[in-house]
Symmetry: C2
């Protein structure tokens, strides 16, 4: 690690990361070429392969840059809530570090990363999410002792899905009718917490039976 790896955000490496985050978030990984990225960043094409080794490694670097701090903040908020956090605190600690992201380009990128089935298990969940989910699942077990392990597993993924969808579609949802036009983060957070907390509290022992039509 040389002095240049953490310098002010005008270095070539940082410019590449920022441009890549923006374009990957807008158009997806495969639809964005390294040429697009270097043009946006105002740097030379060969700089990508010098600072990162390949396009795939660049993607991993972007994932690291965002999911690393998010993991820290999530666990920190969960710990700050004490040894037996309330359900609302657990859900907030899960959502806030992602939804409250200050950097506007980070949100669509994180949406792409979390909703990409090709990346998810090996390059996102295992290295960056698995431990966090396990910790939150433990906290949920204390807060909701009536839920089975499977029930908890699926509800955590319902929560993750609701959040991920909003992140991924953050660019288009405000354009739709009925949304209220803007995407105010604090209000959105409150709405998600209300919805998800109620979902988690639902009694699981009334498995609804489907009937034909």
């Amino acid at each position: 690690m040389t002095a240049s790896s953490q310098e002010v955000p005008t270095g070539t490496k940082t410019k590449i990361l920022n441009a890549a985050e923006k374009l990957f978030g807008q158009h997806g990984f495969d639809a964005t070429s390294l040429r697009d990225i270097t043009a946006e960043a105002g740097v030379n094409l060969a700089a990508v392969n010098y600072h990162f080794q390949s396009k795939e490694s660049l993607i991993d670097a972007l994932i690291d840059r965002r999911l690393g701090p998010i993991k820290q903040k999530r666990l920190q908020m969960l710990e700050a809530a004490g040894p037996a956090p309330a359900l609302e605190q657990i859900v907030e600690a899960f959502l806030a570090p992602i939804l409250d992201h200050d950097l506007p380009t980070a949100v669509p990128l994180i949406g792409r990363v979390l909703s990409n089935p090709s990346l998810f298990l090996e390059r996102v969940y295992k290295p960056h999410l698995g431990e966090t989910v396990a910790r939150f699942s433990e906290a949920l077990e204390k807060a909701l002792p009536g839920l089975s392990t499977e029930e908890r597993f699926w509800r955590v993924h319902f929560m993750a899905g609701a959040m991920t969808h909003i992140l991924a579609l953050s660019g288009v949802l405000p354009l739709m009718e009925g949304s209220g036009g803007t995407l105010d983060r604090a209000t959105l957070m409150a709405r998600m917490v209300t919805f998800l907390v109620a979902g988690f509290r639902a009694s699981a022992d009334s498995p609804h039976i489907l009937e034909k039509c």
Copy 2:
């Protein structure tokens, strides 16, 4: 429309659609070449551009093929529930036509389609989903008169997100610990309905206030 457009599922056109659905679902649109598809289908490369005009049109044909019938089934289930359906019936009518899909390759494809921000608004939502969502939103308004339009809008998208995430990750979620190993559709449906119905019923007039840690 000639006689060949709706023949037994061994025509070249159908073989291409089936192979494309499988590979697009597994690897995504950009990561799958027309050569991959024609190899999988056992047909000639040029057949794709003869039957469909371009790769983009092929994708639209795949979207049509699955989302058309789903729209019909959703509206049919909603109508069958009478003029003032219960909340459970509304949620079931929204989820069942997608989650209960018999064709195993359709589920990952639909997950890719619904979670792709680049396709979503113009090529998925407006042509195939908007009218359905409006009808379901009306039904929800009757079932839950206390909710504001914005609140309903966002909760519908929380529901859509939870469902979409499960579809998109259907290939990997069963591999994770705590899932119970299998993905039994009836049980999953029941779990989602329980969770989402409780979320919809949550009272909205207690907007939770976020505090710093």
